[in-house]
Subunit: 313 residues, 2 copies
């Protein structure tokens, strides 16, 4: 199925690692199944991080063994270090992810390493992953600003992105970790990035902390970006970035893209089912809006006088 925009689902990882609830394996599998059923084709399942740091993902190994078998779906997992990679290589996951912050202070608080030390560690992780024939995706966080350092110079983000791509990441996802970004800033950041990199080497990973995620994604679309991270229901955040609320909700992102006539391969109704499963699994109301309000127009067949679902331009 051809798609115009690729949605990279991070709810099981970025979402669940920030939920208070420690979700049982069986519920994670149920959510993974609902995500696959909705048509999402790139799903980050977990992180091979120490259970001491993120107990929510302590079952990473078992979960990877229990993931639904689905052709055309690429599951991936974050590997913060060589120990994480070793665990990932025990699985059949075709893809791993590495991450670094553009902010020295945030990197230190998040990974307990300087950016330089992190890049050295990532170098080994990527070399090991390549040797084992796994694709590698990179994350650069705090590109739009950092709670500790404030504004982050674009040159700083560009430098770490350059290294990640040179080391062998097929794509780097740029994170607005604290959800501070605004559209003019996004345009400025992407202009600098696109002067050096191809659009398909980049993705946007926007948090909706201040409500601006979809506006920033719209700017990304206008600049030619076609890869966007999101979390079902709007789960997620960053435990080391105080005040950071959830990732942009997958259903809100897909609603906007659908309305713009951009194909994602995602089934609208099944996506809302997945959001309901996410709420059950998280044991709380999630902040995504479309799963609360419903699709518009509704599909015929959902009830008597409903309006036929048609592509809004």
């Amino acid at each position: 199925m051809s798609t115009d925009v690729s949605v990279y689902e991070v709810g099981l990882r970025d979402g669940l690692q920030n939920e208070k609830a420690i979700v049982p394996l069986v519920d994670k599998v149920r959510l993974a199944q609902a995500l696959v059923a909705s048509g999402l084709r790139r799903i980050e399942a977990t992180s091979f991080v120490s259970p001491k740091w993120i107990p929510q993902l302590a079952d990473a190994d078992a979960f990877c063994g229990a993931l639904p078998k689905a052709e055309n779906v690429t599951f991936s997992a974050l590997c913060p270090n060589m120990r994480g990679l070793e665990r990932a290589l025990e699985t059949t996951l075709p893809e791993i992810a590495v991450f670094i912050s553009a902010s020295e202070t945030h990197n230190k608080k998040n990974l307990n390493k300087t950016i330089r030390e992190s890049l050295d560690a990532i170098k080994d992780v990527i070399a090991g992953a390549r040797q084992a024939n796994r694709r590698i995706r990179g994350y650069v966080s705090t590109v739009w600003g950092c709670t500790y350092e404030g504004a982050i110079p674009i040159a700083q983000s560009l430098a770490v992105t350059r290294e990640l791509l040179a080391l062998g990441c097929y794509q780097v996802s740029l994170g607005d970790t604290i959800g501070a970004g605004t559209p003019g800033q996004t345009r400025e950041i992407l202009a600098a990035y696109l002067a050096e990199f191809r659009a398909d080497q980049l993705a946007l990973h926007m948090h909706d902390t201040r409500g601006t995620a979809l506006a920033n994604i719209l700017v990304g679309l206008e600049c030619g970006i076609r890869d966007f991270d999101s979390a079902i229901g709007g789960m997620g955040g960053c435990p080391y970035a105080p005040g950071a609320a959830g990732n942009v909700a997958t259903e809100d992102l897909v609603y906007m893209l659908f309305g713009m006539g951009l194909a994602t391969g995602v089934d609208p109704d099944r996506l809302l089912v997945a959001a309901r499963v996410a709420e059950e699994v998280a044991g709380r109301s999630l902040p995504g809006k479309v799963h609360q309000a419903g699709w518009f127009p509704k599909r015929l067949g959902n009830g008597g006088g409903d309006v036929e679902l048609s592509k809004l331009k």
Copy 2:
């Protein structure tokens, strides 16, 4: 003070009429004071509608008498009919508002009149208001779609807008009453509008039901629109449009505009104070995001190591 963008605050009217709580007059006054203190210069205070229909605004007459005296602030009130206008003309309000729906079914359910009957009634209201030297603003609702009718042809919205402007409205605010709009659609609607009307004759009144309000407003900005309605805290909705959540939150709108370097005349810190007052007055958490997450970067002086507030582009 010169501004780039004019924010038209509707929380006291569109917000409070949809809150379950019947807010005492003294609290409304406190919220009005906080809004004025934040630097907002256009504030819709209430609606002169029958208390039978909207008990939340039953104190419209008394409230207009108790509004803070503030130079440079224009308070207005909605007048659904001649009885409403008569009440408005007992006050010193310099501006009134009239409204109509682009959807025949929504208009019928909302006003118990056909669009034609509503326009005839509005004609008398506007004539009376003009005679009394009051400015008149118009609303057209369901421009982006209607719960009952689905997609609304642009020609239908244009036709009622044309009549409102011809009758003497200085500006017509186009409403996404059910918060269904997406950016391509907004661009299409505004292209049709701007082929016929000046940008300053138009405003956008977006609901954030599906999270797309700021993205749609961004399109509005790109098309030259400079007038946007919003409600403090994200209060509001429409009691006759099932599923409709709040207006876009004033603090989220101002945050985005500020980040884009667009002056609104609004003080960021005082606006967040107003949002807190709105939550107290409504007696519940409100959905706006920036009042929860805080401004970014923070101002120097708000605490030790805070980052200086600088214009993000």
